[in-house]
Symmetry: C2
Subunit: 205 residues, 2 copies
DNA sequence: GTCTATACCTAGATAGAC
DNA sequence: GTCTATCTAGGTATAGAC
């Protein structure tokens, strides 16, 4: 029974891993169950013994990848972040985002979630809640606690920071803007710091 | 002959209009030629007499909608824009974007272009060149000419402005963030002005 | 749970009459 | 250019043996 259980999980895992690859490459409608079965080295009917239908499988793999992306920081680390001066805080936020943006899987997830957001709004919501909001709340929380910055709307300011990053990823990397109008990510960060620094100086006067 | 020509154009136009609707709603793989034919009230073979294949039709409608979105301003208006103080310039840029973002077709175009960017990179490039870069160049040109702002990288600063807008559209409207963490577009603009204003003041000292 | 085999449908694309 | 009719391939999903 233990063996049966183990081999079952193994098959299911093969399917999930294959489905992640195929769905993220080709989107929902662009993916066939035949292709997933071939990639998983499994017969098609086996997939249907683990998942109700194609939508069920798709939802499962998007949830899988989405939750994988949400490695919440420890409370200690979050507290440490909040104690940093604005400059170093932006530095760390930047580092975290850059690691994320170098992952092909992350870019593919973003592409598919946006592309299928009309047909699968719940998955889009899940993505926003578990991935996007994490960064937003980190930055928003920081801006809220630093009253000395005199920001009228911390959430909106957090959005400007995180939004600049995400928009850079989309138009430079995903849409291929880097091929004819390159913009280094570091330069965006520097320009963002210029603005935030100015705000800090004004607030201190 | 004139009649034949007219009826021909009419049929082709029916097909294009129907294809725009169906492709923007369902993406490339999610769209069937049967569905397009039904929507255009035309038999499928008629489509193939105007377009080589499905890819050809898809490329045609994305180009159609993309170019429609690029209504370049007159040189006079652009010059007027460049003469405005930073505050009013951001106001106008904002207004232009808000009009854009209220169009369902524009949101659908953005969704599809991102979703299909892996399979159709040329179309993604076309979109960036004709739509995104227009706003970027406007803002970047403004920041370049206003040396008094002492911005080290006008392009990067322009990206922060435009990127904040696009990111707002994506995570609030397209991914449905507004349903559980609403953020008003106006508040983003206000926060952006806070930062730019601070930079202006610092530069004037 | 896993496989073989298959039912049933819709996809994209074309041939030929008009 | 437009339609009727049709081809072939591939799609999702299931029934039944093991």
């Amino acid at each position: 029974m233990a063996t049966s259980q183990r081999s079952t999980r193994s098959k299911k895992d093969q399917i999930v891993q294959a489905a992640i690859k195929v769905f993220l490459e080709n989107g929902y409608a662009g993916t066939s169950m035949n292709r997933v079965a071939a990639e998983a080295d499994v017969i098609k009917a086996t997939i249907y013994s683990h998942f109700k239908d194609k939508e069920d499988l798709f939802a499962a793999i998007i949830e899988e990848v989405t939750f994988k992306r949400m490695h919440a920081d420890t409370p200690e680390f979050e507290q440490y972040l909040q104690s940093l001066p604005p400059d170093e805080f932006v530095n760390l936020l930047t580092q975290k985002f850059k690691i994320l943006s170098q992952s092909e899987e992350y870019k593919a997830l973003l592409r598919v979630v946006i592309g299928e957001s009309e047909r699968f709004p719940e998955l889009a919501t899940l993505y926003v809640k578990t991935v996007i909001l994490k960064g937003m709340e980190l930055a928003s929380g920081y801006f809220s606690k630093h009253k000395d910055l005199k920001l009228n709307n911390p959430l909106a300011t957090a959005h400007i920071c995180c939004g600049s990053f995400v928009a850079w990823l989309i138009w430079q990397e995903i849409l291929g803007g880097k091929n004819f109008k390159p913009l280094e990510f570091e330069d965006v960060v520097i320009a963002l710091k210029e603005l935030v620094d100015a705000k800090v100086q004004i607030s201190q006067q």
